[in-house]
């Protein structure tokens, strides 16, 4: 409802008249805004402010102005006086870079401030009637009314804002604000200062209720937060706001209360519940508080709220949590471990102690698994051993992945633990190279024909697993040795399960250890390929050269020519006179080969040769038996084409075989009943004689007599170890020479360190061994010692 009488616009020179006109208008904006404001009246108010500020006479009030400005500086005052003297000539004057004009309005500004103070005093009086939530309601109501009015009043006084206030501020006056801000300042000084602690008490008890599970009016808190935030004014620039007020009056008490609340709650909860339950609780509380920020708090609080909660809920109980870690590991409680990781990962250095425990635990598990394999006797399958290692690894790898977020530090702990138990356990203790040996043997068993993993994809997966263990092996050179021996056999005996699998394995090794590591392995493959072509052209050659007679008596043969430098094979350890049939075949090939490659040398590896023989002499056999035999065995059996019974010495003389080779082969014949001994029984010895068994019987038509002899296996393993020692010496010496050659002079310690760096990808060298090889090289005059622990290269 518009006022019934249109008020007269006040006389523009009259302060009192102007103010009382304004005051009644402001008052109705403040109190009766809901009734609406008449546009004309509103315009009148606006005009009154404008008129007053532009009136001439106001200069008179200079005195009052001076008094009011008790605090202003002498310079300002003199500027003002200059401005006043200039006023008579109506010309602005530039002083010290400032345009100083005479602007009016201070009185109005002052009176408005006084009005607001009066208003707020009333509000404050009324507030004492309220407490708790009612107080919050009251505060928010009054705040809303006040700030809404402030916007209108600010507009009414916009002339004042634009001129007088602006100049005051430009001149650097403190405590002068635009009219809206003046409202806020007054609110803060005259009301807020008196009620904030009561208001906060109400807010905090509301939040506590919510934490206790009650439903509350969240919007109230949100409004309070907004109000507190609005009250933050930048001292240096009133147009900017800061969060100072909010931080000091809201955030601080809120954080303190939060800390206290959770200190109590967690202390109590821990006393009455299990650690796992507590972790769930803490997790839930952390989530809840995070959500709280989004619901009704200022986002500025997030950091300190989270820190406080973590401090009280996690850090304060971190020892308790960590003590539970081993228990959870023992019981494989993956989910709870993940929960613990989640909590402790959020505090500083929270996880460090866990890593050590985890590493120890994995190592223990690995050792226990190997222990179990070991308890099953000495002759376990390599597969059993490798599987045991893999199982432990994969179990804890998935734990790290699932529960520990795949965090790199835990991966490192896992790797450390695995490296330990793979290289040092009850099976690999006395002989540190047992692990690579077993791994290589297991690989061989997979890649050899007749392995159980028939599926190509399954085999590939197993090769990948082998590489997992391989990664941890320290003595990679040992693996290489055993692997290349086994590969040589697979290739020579054509017993690889597939070329693809072989290639795949070699490329994996190459990827892990580099070209040099697999170079010889690849050359072995090439030799086999070249040999295939060679045999084809040998066949063509034979077709041209041989006559019918030769062809009739020809032995069907296949040859491998293997480069001495690449193949881990040795010449036979025994003398051997090959039977004439074989010798002729061998010589013919040799002739062909030397024609082709003049100057090369061929060494026959008789111990690796094998063949098949047809036994036409056996009675009662519809189809003649075929014996699969080694060349040595062939030589023995062929003797019986000429005689039915032969003495041990006959055989020994004819074949030239050493007793260590001859005896076990005779034993195989006796055991298979291909030959009969007289006298019967016992091991073959020089007093025995042997004859063909014409009544030989076997279920199969093809009989494999080419069985590897146990003692041979052992000798082979020992030999391999011996070559490893030799190779390591060479590797160390060549590393030392290489380093010294490039560095010329070097301190002993540095040289040792550098050598370790260079060879550790192959095997972990002992310092003692390095020193011995340094000494050896000194004696060979490659290097010499200078005074002061320095080593020099001798060119």
């Amino acid at each position: 409802m518009p006022p019934p009488v249109m008020p007269q616009t006040p006389h523009k020179d009259d302060l009192e008249e102007t103010w009382s006109f304004l005051e009644s208008g402001i008052n109705s904006v403040m109190h009766k805004l809901e009734d609406g404001v008449d546009m004309k009246h509103y315009m009148a108010l606006y005009t009154a402010v404008h008129n007053f500020c532009t009136s001439q006479k106001a200069v008179v009030s200079n005195q009052g102005l001076q008094a009011h400005r008790g605090g202003s500086s002498a310079i300002t005052r003199s500027l003002l006086q200059i401005a006043q003297s200039q006023e008579k000539e109506k010309q602005p004057l530039t002083v010290a870079g400032l345009i100083t004009a005479h602007l009016l309005g201070e009185e109005l500004y002052k009176l408005l401030g006084e009005y607001l103070s009066r208003h707020l005093e009333e509000v404050q009086q009324k507030s004492t009637a309220h407490t708790e939530e009612a107080l919050l309601g009251f505060y928010i109501r009054e705040w809303t009314r006040y700030t809404t009015a402030a916007k209108y009043i600010n507009h009414l006084f916009s002339y004042l804002n634009r001129h007088w206030v602006k100049r005051e501020i430009d001149e650097g006056k403190k405590n002068v604000y635009d009219v809206y801000t003046l409202h806020l300042v007054k609110w803060k000084d005259d009301f807020f200062e008196h009620v904030h602690s009561k208001v906060m008490d109400a807010v905090l008890s509301l939040i506590e209720k919510q934490r206790n599970g009650e439903t509350i009016e969240q919007s109230q808190i949100k409004s309070i937060v907004d109000s507190f935030v609005s009250l933050g004014l930048d001292e240096n620039d009133s147009k900017k706001s800061t969060l100072e007020v909010y931080r000091h009056y809201f955030q601080q008490p809120f954080i303190d209360a939060t800390r206290k609340y959770y200190e109590n709650e967690s202390r109590q909860f821990v006393a009455e519940n299990s650690v796992v339950e507590y972790m769930k609780k803490a997790e839930a509380r952390l989530d809840e508080e995070k959500a709280r920020v989004g619901l009704y708090l200022h986002s500025d609080v997030t950091k300190s709220l989270t820190e406080t909660c973590l401090d009280v809920l996690v850090t304060a109980h971190s020892n308790l949590l960590r003590d539970e870690f081993q228990v959870l590991l023992n019981n494989e409680r993956q989910e709870d471990l993940a929960r613990m990781y989640g909590l402790l990962s959020r505090i500083k250095e929270g996880l460090d102690p866990l890593r050590g425990i985890f590493e120890k635990h994995v190592k223990k598990a690995g050792l226990a698994a190997v222990e179990k394999v070991n308890s099953e006797g000495e002759n376990f399958e390599p597969k059993l051993y490798v599987d045991a290692l893999l199982q432990v690894h994969s179990r804890y790898q998935s734990l790290v992945e699932e529960a520990f977020n795949g965090e790199s530090e835990f991966v490192r702990s896992l790797d450390n633990a695995c490296r330990e138990f793979v290289n040092r356990n009850c099976i690999a203790q006395a002989n540190n190279t047992k692990s690579p040996e077993l791994l290589a043997k297991y690989t061989d068993s997979l890649l050899k024909k007749g392995s159980k993993a028939a599926e190509e994809s399954e085999l590939e997966e197993m090769l990948v697993q082998i590489m997992t263990v391989f990664k941890y092996i320290e003595d990679k050179d040992v693996f290489q040795k055993f692997y290349s021996k086994a590969l040589a056999k697979r290739l020579v005996h054509v017993s690889s399960v597939s070329d693809d699998a072989e290639t795949s394995m070699i490329s994996k090794l190459k990827e892990a250890c580099g070209f040099e590591y697999t170079n010889k392995l690849q050359r072995m493959f090439q030799d086999i390929q070249i040999s295939k072509d060679l045999n084809a052209s040998y066949k063509d050659w034979q077709d041209k050269v041989l006559d019918d007679d030769d062809r009739k008596r020809m032995t069907d043969a296949h040859f491998h020519v293997l480069g001495t430098g690449f193949w881990p094979l040795n010449p036979p350890t025994t003398a051997f006179s090959a039977p004439p049939e074989i010798l002729k075949t061998a010589e013919r090939f040799q002739k062909f080969y030397f024609d082709k490659h003049n100057g090369r040398k061929l060494t026959w590896l008789w111990q690796l040769c094998k063949g098949e023989m047809k036994a036409n002499y056996i009675k009662n056999a519809k189809v003649p038996y075929t014996f699969q035999v080694s060349t040595f065995q062939m030589a023995i059996l062929l003797l019986f084409n000429e005689a039915e019974t032969l003495s041990y010495t006959d055989i020994e003389k004819a074949t030239n075989l050493a007793p260590e080779v001859l005896d076990p082969n005779l034993a195989i014949f006796l055991k298979a009943k291909v030959l009969l001994a007289s006298p019967e029984g016992g091991k073959p010895d020089p007093s025995m004689s042997f004859s063909l068994n014409y009544n030989f019987k076997n279920k199969k038509v093809k009989v494999n007599l080419n069985i590897q002899i146990k003692s041979e296996q052992k000798v082979e393993t020992d030999d391999t170890h011996k070559t490893i020692e030799e190779d390591r010496k060479l590797l160390l010496q060549s590393a030392i020479v290489r380093i010294m050659k490039s560095r010329k002079k070097m301190r002993h310690v540095q040289l040792v360190q550098e050598v370790i760096n260079q060879v550790k990808s192959r095997f972990p060298p002992h310092v003692i061994d390095i020193k011995k090889n340094i000494e050896a090289l000194m004696e060979k005059d490659y290097i010499e010692r200078l005074e002061g622990e320095e080593i020099a290269y001798i060119a």
Binding site: V749, K771, E775, E779
Partner: protein
């Protein structure tokens, strides 16, 4: 001056010697005349001074050059210089070491890289016991005796140049610090010396057990 020294050289040159060499007999006479005993380090110092190619042999050019350099033309002057060297061996440890290192070179049997065990032991006994030595037996530990005992125990192997040079340094250190504080298994000492340290430690343990 050269002429005078050359005269001295000729005086000891025997009929059966090569034209520019004094053989073993002449050498012994010469050393006797300048009052140098065969079983003192000074004898080796003179050999080093005259750049003898092997023990007990002087070559003309080096002999003349060495003595002329010192302005010694008579036996009496040479005797004085020998005495000077004798004193220097007792006070100047760097000099003493250079004579020690030279000794290895002239103690090898021709064509070999190592010095035979027995010869090495004789020299050690000389170097590590004669006045001025700080590398021999101490009041509490018979370092030299133990070292020789240790080498005998492992088969009297020939001694390499490196081991020769290092053992002197080692024994000096061991005399200063009998607990091997200066030693580290990963340090630069030759492996033979590392083994010796282990041997000494074991021997000391044994000694304690017996007490």
């Amino acid at each position: 001056m050269e002429h005078s020294v050359n005269q001295v050289f000729s005086k000891y040159h025997g009929a059966s010697d090569e034209p520019d060499k004094i053989g073993i007999e002449g050498a012994m006479r010469f050393l006797g005349d300048i009052d140098v005993q065969l079983d003192e380090i000074t004898c080796l110092a003179i050999a080093e001074f005259c750049k003898c190619p092997t023990m007990g042999e002087f070559t003309r050019a080096e002999f003349i050059q060495a003595w002329v350099g010192q302005r010694c033309t008579t036996i009496a002057q040479m005797k004085t210089h020998a005495n000077r060297l004798r004193m220097k061996l007792r006070t100047d440890m760097d000099y003493r070491r250079s004579v020690y290192l030279y000794t290895f070179l002239v103690s090898r049997v021709q064509g070999q890289r190592h010095v035979q065990h027995d010869i090495a032991v004789d020299h050690w006994r000389l170097f590590f016991t004669e006045e001025g030595s700080n590398a021999g037996n101490s009041a509490t530990t018979p370092w030299l005796d133990w070292w020789i005992e240790f080498l005998e125990g492992r088969g009297k192997r020939p001694v390499s140049r490196d081991l020769w040079g290092q053992i002197e340094l080692f024994l000096v250190e061991a005399n200063k610090d009998e607990t091997f504080g200066f030693w580290d298994v990963e340090g630069s000492w030759p492996p033979t010396i590392d083994e010796f340290v282990a041997w000494v430690k074991a021997k000391r343990e044994e000694g304690k057990m017996e007490e």
